[in-house]
């Protein structure tokens, strides 16, 4: 989230699209009801199904799964055409005025530089025009045909309301009504918030879905404002924290990059980082990258990391390819290239696509170690459970070790919520049986490994032998010790750069903010964005003062919010050029003539005068980007792409299948289904009654939603002769499941390209373990392809067939 849960109460308009907050985030959804009750806010829901969120919405419109980009680009087009643009914001706080290389172009759904052989773009034309002074060239009059604004206008031109209706199946009148409601928030004193989740990420172009809305929010001037922003609702408790500390296979804590093989030393690694500003005086905060990186390596290797050895850079793993994401790992596993897999708090047999491939993959391991508080399906992938897990145990040689762990209520620690708040929690119960904390297990594995390396040696033993391990009990680092380490402390005296004689932090003291980090080895911090969470004043995450002086939901003394306890990112953009809030009733910060101050931590140097420094300090240009630069593999603008399995052709380019740069492994292409054989669109989702594959182990949750079902429209039910409560078979190119049929008017056929498109809704919560009835997950059916940028599987739009199942009764 750019903002926080509590901030949603400040909005005028909530758009839930690509998510189902009432269903999947019912507790956070209370802030939507708060905004409705206290501010008279309106709620719009756009979803293939009329969801629980839709049940309390002011306005609902259906959309065909996988067509969000067309829908959003159409809204941008409508706003431009109807002058619903926050012009001061767009001209000053975005890159609208910047000039782009004249070679850049877009045709047939593709940008310049596409190579069909490598399924990759040469992005060299996707660049700004840089002047001789080294700064970006601009046209403040927006006349130049190569300025971002005119390129954007040209790019969205194809997305007329008729195009949107035809592609998305959203009736034009409903679409235009929503465009009008959204357009109203272009007024400086009106704000819209976007709440989304896996409904946008689980697509082969998920990142571009999100960019589409982010661009719309920039156009409306809604980023950085209270009640605005892009709000990703995280799907797991603490998945935000896991992402922060390096969940992605190409990242280390604090969103720093794992080096590539080609970056053979630290200087080479740094040469492409720490972006130089594209404007005079601009901040480009990542110029401090080296301070974060050196402090991280000092946290890893302590005294062993020195200036001479590049702070231990050689001991970091180096990537030979872009990333070893989960899809790639499971593909490698299926190819017999993985021997040992540690599966920690993860149930991939139900969570990752093409279950048959997953089962095959696990069967090729020598050893599978499962660390989990529950008996997971993954740990039991080798057990035969009839149709629910139809395997032959005699054919599987994988050894499986289950290590029972504690769950969140059985240990201390911080949980990071979607709004980036690190909230400390205290152990509420004693773990049952032999359950141990994950930390205890990992520490013990590490101690034994280190002993083996020390005694027997081995290839590259340094990363293991040199790892700093200064915990009171080496077999169980405490949550407090780890939190203090993530925060970081001074190793040597930390000097004031303005006055080198002055010592800001004495050695051994906890740091109070990442501004104190240094690249000279005098500081260490495990995760720079967390610096400030455990200072010399103690555990900031344990703070529970719910006073809120500005009544803006910023709760400065409740827990700790990264970065720097800031509750609304880019909050400098909540003020106009002179530093006054666009809307005085939504004041977060303002320029008082000397400094920035207010109810939130300013997202700008507190003494940076208005007009001198752009509000988006993490980019080298200081502005928000309509035209993205160097970060997106599939284009600087979002362009409509069909899902890999789609009921219709891409009208922009009928020959194009899915995302043209999404990775497809050998063998998986042949496992894609065709609309002639699989005429219906499947989409997966969660239900309020359950949390993933956990709560089916709980009797109460199991009672409230006991059995696997799929949802279909009355029209599809009639077409296939299916009645409410019938047992049905649903199958894709990759597998089949049996379920109960829930026939509903909440799903309607969508008319796309003149033909009805039927949607089959598939919830995810059942398996063959636990208290609920045995069932299936939607992953049995889903395709083994992910987002082109971050490889999130395309679970939200794929093709299936359905029929009434005779015979066998559900067990």
């Amino acid at each position: 989230m750019t903002n926080s849960w509590t901030d949603i109460k400040n909005t005028d308009l909530v758009v839930i699209m690509g998510g189902n907050a009432a269903e999947a985030h019912p507790c956070g959804f209370k802030w939507v009801t708060e905004a409705k009750a206290k501010r008279g806010a309106k709620l719009i829901v756009v979803d293939p199904r009329f969801t629980r969120s839709a049940s309390v919405a002011d306005y609902y419109a259906p959309i065909r799964p996988g067509t969000d980009i067309a829908w959003l680009m159409g809204v941008i087009r409508w706003c431009i055409e109807n002058d619903k643009v926050q012009w001061d914001y767009v001209k000053n706080y975005t890159n609208a005025t910047y000039l782009v290389n004249e070679d850049f172009g877009w045709e047939d759904g593709l940008f310049t530089g596409y190579d069909p052989e490598t399924r990759n773009y040469d992005q060299s034309s996707w660049e700004y025009q840089i002047g001789e002074d080294g700064f970006v060239r601009t046209d403040p009059t927006l006349q130049d045909p190569h300025c971002v604004w005119n390129l954007l206008k040209a790019h969205v031109d194809v997305y007329t309301p008729e195009f949107v209706e035809n592609v998305c199946g959203t009736p034009k009148d409903r679409y235009l009504k929503i465009c009008e409601m959204i357009g109203e928030t272009s007024a400086p004193d009106k704000v819209m918030t976007s709440m989304y989740a896996l409904g946008w990420t689980q697509h082969s172009k998920g990142s571009q879905n999100i960019r589409g809305m982010a661009m719309l929010q920039l156009l409306l001037g809604n980023i950085g404002l209270a009640g605005g922003g892009m709000n990703a609702l995280r799907g797991h408790s603490n998945i935000q924290g896991l992402t922060d500390v390096g969940l992605m296979s190409n990242l280390i804590p604090g969103y720093l990059a794992i080096p590539r093989e080609s970056e053979t030393d630290y200087a080479t690694y740094m040469s492409t980082r720490g972006n130089k500003p594209l404007f005079p005086n601009q901040m480009s905060y990542l110029q401090n990258y080296g301070k974060f990186m050196v402090s991280f390596m000092k946290a890893m290797w302590g005294d062993k990391a020195t200036a001479e050895n590049g702070w231990g850079y050689d001991w970091l793993p180096k990537l030979d390819i872009a990333q070893y994401d989960a899809l790639r790992m499971f593909d490698m596993m299926a190819n017999g290239q993985v021997n040992l897999y540690f599966c920690q708090g993860f149930n991939p047999l139900l969570a990752f696509p093409n279950r048959a491939k997953m089962t095959e993959a696990f069967g090729k391991l020598k050893l599978l170690v499962v660390m989990d508080p529950l008996e997971t399906e993954t740990a039991a992938f080798w057990e035969n459970h009839g149709i629910y897990n139809d395997v032959d145990p005699a054919q599987i040689q994988t050894e499986v070790l289950e290590l029972p762990t504690t769950c969140f209520a059985e240990d201390d620690g911080a949980t990071v919520n979607s709004g980036r708040w690190l909230q400390w929690h205290w152990k509420g119960a004693t773990p049952p049986g032999e359950a141990k904390t994950d930390t205890w297990i990992m520490a013990n594995v590490f101690q034994r490994l280190r002993k083996l390396y020390a005694e027997e040696g081995g290839k590259a033993p340094e990363p293991i032998l040199n790892l700093a391990w200064d915990y009171a009990d080496p077999e169980e680092p405490t949550a407090e010790e780890l939190a203090r380490e993530l925060n970081g402390r001074a190793i040597g005296p930390v000097h004031d750069p303005a006055d080198p004689a002055k010592v800001l932090v004495e050695p051994g003291k906890q740091l109070s903010g990442f501004g104190q980090l240094r690249d000279d080895g005098s500081t260490m911090a495990g995760c720079w964005i967390y610096t400030g969470c455990w200072t010399e004043d103690g555990n900031m995450m344990a703070r529970r003062d719910n006073s809120d002086p500005g009544d803006m939901g910023t709760f400065q003394n409740w827990s700790f919010s990264w970065p720097a306890n800031r509750r609304v990112l880019y909050n400098r953009a909540s003020c106009d050029l002179s530093g006054k809030p666009w809307d005085p009733t939504r004041k977060l910060i303002e320029w008082d003539g000397q400094k920035w101050a207010g109810f939130d931590v300013p997202d700008i140097a507190v003494t940076a005068k208005p007009g001198e420094v752009g509000p988006f300090i993490m980019t080298p240009e200081g502005t928000g980007r309509f035209f993205s630069r160097r970060l997106m593999r599939d284009g600087p603008f979002p362009s409509h792409m069909e899902p890999f399995e789609s009921p219709v052709e891409n009208p922009l380019n009928p020959a194009m299948r899915g995302n043209p740069v999404a990775r497809m492994f050998e063998g998986d292409l042949a496992q894609l289904g065709d609309r002639s054989e699989f005429p219906f669109v499947a989409t997966s989702y969660r239900l309020t009654e359950h949390f993933h594959y956990w709560t089916k182990h709980n009797r109460v949750n199991a009672v409230l939603q006991p059995e696997f079902f799929v949802e279909i429209s009355e029209e599809l039910a009639a077409e296939r002769g299916i009645a409410k409560g019938d047992r049905v078979r649903v199958w894709s190119k990759r597998g089949q499941v049996w379920a109960k049929a829930l026939v509903t008017r909440r799903i309607r056929p969508l008319i796309c390209d003149g033909k009805p498109v039927h949607v089959v809704g598939i919830p995810i919560h059942w398996g063959f373990k636990g208290a609920a009835r045995k069932g299936f997950g939607s992953n049995t059916l889903g395709p083994f392809v992910g987002d082109a940028n971050i490889e999130t599987p395309e679970f939200k739009a794929y093709l299936v067939n359905i029929e009434r199942a005779e015979g066998e009764v559900m067990a």
């Binding site: 009750a37 002011d58 609902y60 009672v703 409560g725």
Partner: protein
């Protein structure tokens, strides 16, 4: 003695410290099958639970909280093509989300979700129908409570209830329903369901406060185009201590058959009220009339023959709201 503070609303978190009880046996104002009602020396403030259907997201946290607080054990049923689970109120499930798909005259689709359960009528038909002394009581704050140790499981309360709420436990042979968490209210807390509700669709407090809160909600709904938004507090049963804010208060039946104008069945009124001399045959219960006849002259004490008659009565009873929804 000092009494605990009256329950405040669930909006303002009630205190978590243990408080002295403010709901005592001496606060009972009506007792089933008892001729002379008690005369408590104090009057508790009337309470109410307000369920704002327009804020409800159907998450079933209320059902979950109800199961946990009351330590009930509903059966693990099958999915029969519905969101309702369990499929109906049961002796182990005192509250239930009922889901109705509705297309309004403007052609817009609505998914109406109503939390069903005991309405805690000011004039409780169950209590009037109950032949077992002390099995059903009403406190001066309005809560209608079933006292299982006095219950004989005859099922008369089911017939007496205009909302089809009580359920007879098959093995314990007692009637069960929502108690409005009288045990929590007794120590200044709100009901478990209100506590668990993430959107404050369920709130609890004095009836006066809840009515005022409902007015605000109704004004908000009217501003959003729900012209017929209103409060459901049906006068036919003297008003209820569980009330609904409905977007379509003119059509309560839309919400899984919520009765338009609930009244205590004539058979029950005839039996207990001033018209008790009216022959049962005249009001359509000739078959059981003979068995019930003996009840008229005395307080309701049940003979084995009455049980048999009652079972027949229950079986022939009219189907109520929600069935088959």
């Amino acid at each position: 003695m000092t009494t605990a503070s009256e329950p405040t609303t669930a909006i303002a978190n009630p205190p978590v410290e243990a408080l002295e009880s403010n709901l005592l046996p001496s606060d009972v104002v009506r007792i089933s099958a008892t001729r002379s009602p008690p005369q408590p020396d104090r009057q508790l403030t009337k309470v109410a639970k307000l369920i704002d259907v327009s804020k409800c997201i159907g998450c079933k946290a209320c059902q979950s909280a109800c199961i946990e607080w009351n330590d009930t054990h509903p059966e693990l049923e099958a999915n029969v093509g519905l969101y309702e689970n369990p499929h109906d109120l049961t002796p182990e499930m005192y509250t239930l989300m009922r889901f109705t798909e509705y297309e309004n005259p403007e052609g817009d689709f609505e998914w109406l979700i109503r939390k069903d359960g005991c309405m805690h009528c000011e004039d409780p038909g169950c209590l009037k129908a109950c032949p077992a002394p002390g099995a059903i009581v009403q406190y001066s704050n309005g809560i209608v409570d079933f006292i299982s140790e006095n219950c004989i499981g005859c099922g008369y309360c089911v017939t007496g209830c205009p909302f089809n709420v009580p359920r007879i436990h098959k093995t314990a042979h007692v009637a069960k329903k929502c108690t409005l968490c009288s045990d929590r209210v007794a120590v200044g807390q709100g009901p478990a369901c209100a506590k668990a509700c993430p959107t404050q669709a369920i709130v609890f407090g004095t009836k006066e406060e809840m009515t005022a809160h409902a007015e605000e909600r109704i004004a908000d709904l009217k501003s959003r185009g729900y012209e017929n938004a209103g409060l459901y507090d049906p006068p036919g049963v003297g008003g209820t201590h569980v009330m609904y804010v409905l977007h379509h208060a003119d059509q309560p039946a839309l919400y899984a058959g919520l009765p338009e104008d609930p009244k205590i069945a004539p058979v029950v009124e005839g039996w207990k009220g001033p018209a008790k001399t009216v022959g049962l045959a005249a009001i359509g219960l000739a078959a059981v009339g003979a068995a019930l006849h003996g009840l008229f002259g005395r307080a309701n004490v049940v003979e084995p023959s009455d049980e048999t008659a009652a079972e027949k009565l229950v079986k022939s009873g009219t189907s109520g709201p929600g069935e088959g929804a």
